[in-house]
């Protein structure tokens, strides 16, 4: 079986699956239960001067009948006294010595306050510290959380203060609510961070109640922007993780966070450079038990693919992330419809006709044969038909070889190489309402 043991910036855990800082890591009982069920690590709910929460805290975005495709919160950091949290962290670490226990911290932006908090935290025996520079709501209004993480100089400064006293690894958690996350990542590195974690939640309003016009989640008729998370944010997180991982001036471990709900999600983050992954929303939805398939699925996949350790997977997709101008313009694809699999819904036709390149032809339904066919000379290989097709592997994209050598935009614009002949729009002016 694949070896899932993880060494992340010298923080060791039996597997790469950590609970992200949030409601599931609020108490000893939760974290202990999670470890018993298989979680490899936990980042404690952010500790700081205890806050007072509002009662309505979460908002959900459903996709059709699927609940919590996206999720947001306006909950603040821990509302429990610092001493109580630290006592429980120490207890967890004592009872689960081989698991990763990381304290998430957020205090006011004063050197002495950070020094004091870091020292107290180290006394618990915690394996590491995560600096919460990402929380986008509430705390940011008080000059903490993303108010720090959105300014490279602040980020660097506070990391420096922390590193002045910290002897255990310091992870800086980044906010995605910035124009270019690599600037903040570099500032954290400059300040001496041992690792990064990203992404924190994204500024959001999840919806409006149309009978009352209350934004959601509503607190006595009003709301405030909250942090968006859940499956919806995974693609954003994947991009930001890859951007930071690929930055030559970063070079420190990255803990991937954002919409991870399955082992596949986790494997993708790892392939784009994550050394560990953190999960919160999926646990809030389905409970700690999901870790069983995270572990089982990941190790089965690794075994099948011959990856023995996480190091065999980590960053493997990264060299394949490039700039658009480097992509090969002479790589041509053509959609192919497996007519035996086609169920004749015509979704590909309507999508291509209205939303893409008018490269599918309809055939009369009453012939008993195919109802759609690709117009090869018009197909630009965009993938839309394959994306909308409800039957797996019915529409596949096939490469059309040509004699021409690869050419990037950069090369083409410089006049270095030629484009292979390609498909063109062909009936843009022919539309007329069909007779009824």
């Amino acid at each position: 079986m694949a070896d899932l043991r993880t060494n992340f910036a010298d923080i060791k855990s039996p597997n790469p699956f950590w609970l992200a800082s949030g409601p599931p890591t609020n108490t000893y009982g939760q974290v202990a239960k999670a470890f018993d069920q298989g979680w490899g690590g936990a980042v404690w709910k952010t500790i700081g001067e205890p806050i007072i929460n509002v009662f309505s805290r979460y908002g959900s975005v459903d996709l059709g009948a699927t609940r919590m495709m996206g999720f947001n919160n306006i909950e603040l950091i821990s509302d429990r006294p610092v001493a109580e949290n630290l006592k429980e962290i120490a207890e967890v670490k004592r009872n689960y010595p081989t698991h990763a226990v990381i304290a998430s911290l957020m205090v006011e932006s004063k050197r002495a306050a950070w020094h004091e908090m870091v020292k107290q935290t180290e006394d618990t025996g915690a394996d590491g510290i995560e600096l919460n520079f990402g929380c986008p709501h509430g705390m940011s209004e008080r000059g903490m959380g993303s108010a720090v993480g959105q300014v490279p100089d602040y980020t660097c400064q506070i990391v420096e203060w922390v590193k002045e006293v910290a002897t255990i690894p310091v992870i800086v958690k980044l906010t995605p609510n910035v124009t270019d996350i690599t600037y903040i990542a570099r500032a954290a590195v400059k300040g001496g961070a041992d690792a990064l974690s990203l992404i924190n939640t994204i500024n959001s309003i999840v919806g409006v109640d149309l009978s009352t016009f209350e934004p959601q989640p509503s607190v006595a008729g009003k709301s405030s922007h909250g942090g968006y998370c859940g499956p919806a944010v995974k693609p954003i997180a994947l991009h930001l993780v890859s951007a930071v991982a690929a930055d030559p001036s970063v070079k420190i471990p990255i803990s991937g966070i954002g919409g991870i709900a399955s082992w596949r999600d986790a494997a993708e983050f790892i392939a784009l450079g994550a050394g560990s992954v953190q999960v919160c929303t999926a646990v809030m939805h389905y409970g700690f038990r999901i870790v069983e398939d995270l572990i089982d699925g990941l190790s089965t996949w690794m075994d099948e693919r011959g990856h023995r350790t996480l190091a065999d997977v980590r960053g493997r997709a990264l060299p394949r992330v490039t700039t658009w101008e480097e992509l090969d313009l002479n790589y041509h694809l053509l959609a192919h419809i497996d007519q035996d699999k086609c169920i004749k819904c015509e979704l590909c036709w309507t999508a291509c006709e209205d939303g893409a390149h008018q490269a599918i032809r309809r055939l009369p339904r009453d012939n008993g044969g195919p109802v759609v066919e690709i117009i090869e000379e018009a197909c630009v290989g965009c993938n839309l038909c394959a994306a909308v097709c409800p039957v797996q592997e019915c529409i596949t994209m096939r490469q059309v070889p040509n004699e021409y050598p690869p050419v990037s935009w950069k090369e083409y614009a410089a006049g270095k190489r030629k484009l292979a002949p390609r498909s063109e729009h062909f009936h843009t002016a022919t539309w007329a309402p069909s007779p009824k």
């Binding site: 059709g64 009948a65 699927t66 169920i343 004749k344 819904c345 015509e346 979704l347 036709w349 309507t350 309809r362 339904r365 109802v371 409800p390 039957v391």
Partner: protein
């Protein structure tokens, strides 16, 4: 006749409860979101009234139930009863592309019911009569064909008077659909929606000839349905204890359940969908044995396959290749059995009640088909089909009548 042991009120209510109960809101949302939203959808093509099925389902998914019902009822004024009584297995649901993905089709009928029930519950008025044209149309027969025609004519601004021989409108929707599929109150509420557009209804009026109507109206639509059940032409068929299926079902649907008595052993002659309705309802009323007797083979049965399955699930019996020869009296004014001829010879099937369900005959009603002002639709024109066919034909007739009355301007 030897009667069945009466069932309790509770049991009868259970036996005649909706065979396909409504979806909950959650179930409807889940189901609606499963719909692929096909282009040129096979379900819509399969529906005789061509309801835009993906459109109405999408509206359920978006929470627009009123709009969903409007899509349904715009195409088919009998969207309520069709949701309950349509043979969807051979129409929309049978055409659903998910069948080709080895899945259950979308529950189109139940989704249609979900949307249209919302309209009934909230008493929503979805349609308005069109601006008056001053033209007058007579409709003979207040069944699905006649009332569909009437509604679509009213929406186009024509004055419509509907003549109905029975006490209540709705035709077989009110009097003839198996109770566990469609109850008369729903059928009547559906009709009321149409009447509320300003359609004049005259019940208890039998039209013997349409000639007088042609002198008072600009056009006449005839949707009188079929006549009574055909006669068997065998001895004993006039004995007490022999009843035709339509009379039996109508009695059941117009009286409290316990007032329709059935024999202990019921035999139903015929194997069409009405025969199935009769045999299952006899069983559900408490008959100890209810058996279909059919002169031809199992494969020849005209009923839909799922109706056959339903009857079997209800515990009904089937005798195939058994040709009725004679209904035998019991000497005291009742029935004691049905003599049949089989490949093995003659045999008597003991029975206290015989229900005849061998199809309806044509009405004795002369329609001057060469008169351009006369239109026909529904069972009397198609020989007997589904509600949805009648509704479709009524709608098509309304369009043609409108074209004739306004000089070709279809709308």
């Amino acid at each position: 006749m030897e009667q069945s042991v009466p069932l309790s009120e509770e049991q009868l209510a259970k036996n005649f409860a909706d065979i396909a109960p409504p979806l909950t809101n959650d179930a409807a949302l889940l189901e609606a979101n499963k719909c692929l939203f096909c282009h040129d959808a096979p379900c819509t093509i399969a529906c005789p009234t061509h309801i835009d099925v993906p459109a109405f389902i999408k509206k359920i998914a978006s929470g627009n139930l009123r709009g969903s019902a409007r899509v349904i009822l715009d195409a088919n004024p009998f969207g309520h009863s069709c949701a309950r009584a349509c043979p969807v297995e051979v129409l929309c649901e049978g055409a659903c592309v998910l069948n080709d993905r080895d899945e259950q089709p979308i529950k189109i009928a139940l989704l249609q019911r979900h949307a249209t029930d919302y309209v009934l519950e909230h008493k929503l008025r979805l349609f308005q009569p069109g601006p008056s044209t001053g033209k007058r149309v007579a409709v003979v027969g207040a069944g699905p064909a006649g009332l569909s025609c009437a509604r679509d004519l009213r929406r186009r601004g024509h004055d419509v008077t509907v003549f109905e021989a029975k006490a209540q409108p709705g035709g077989l929707n009110t009097y003839g659909i198996a109770e566990y599929k469609l109850k008369a109150d729903v059928a009547l509420a559906e009709v009321q929606d149409i009447l509320d557009l300003g359609v004049e209804l005259k019940t208890g009026v039998t039209i013997a000839s349409i000639d007088p109507l042609l002198s008072q109206y600009d056009a006449v639509f005839v949707g009188v349905g079929l006549g009574g059940t055909k006669r068997l032409g065998i001895p004993g068929e006039d004995l007490p204890g022999v009843v035709d299926a339509l009379t039996f079902i109508e009695h059941l649907k117009t009286h409290p359940y316990r007032e329709t008595t059935v024999g202990r052993r019921v035999v139903v002659i015929g194997a069409g969908n009405t025969a199935i309705d009769a045999v299952t309802q006899a069983k559900r009323l408490g008959a100890a044995a209810a058996t279909i007797v059919y002169r031809r083979s199992e494969a020849d049965m005209p009923c839909y396959h799922y109706e056959y399955e339903l009857a079997k699930r209800d515990g009904c019996g089937f005798r195939f290749n058994a040709a009725p020869q004679r209904i035998i009296g019991n000497g005291s004014g009742g029935v004691s059995g049905l003599e049949v001829r089989t490949d093995l010879g003659s045999e008597t099937i003991p029975s206290d009640m015989v229900i005849v369900a061998i199809g309806q005959g044509e009405r004795d009603f002369v329609v001057p088909r060469n008169d351009p002002r006369v239109f026909v639709g529904g069972d009397c024109a198609n020989g007997g089909a589904e509600i949805v066919n009648a509704a479709a034909e009524g709608g098509v007739a309304a369009k043609r009548i409108h074209e004739m009355l306004t000089g070709g301007d279809a709308m």
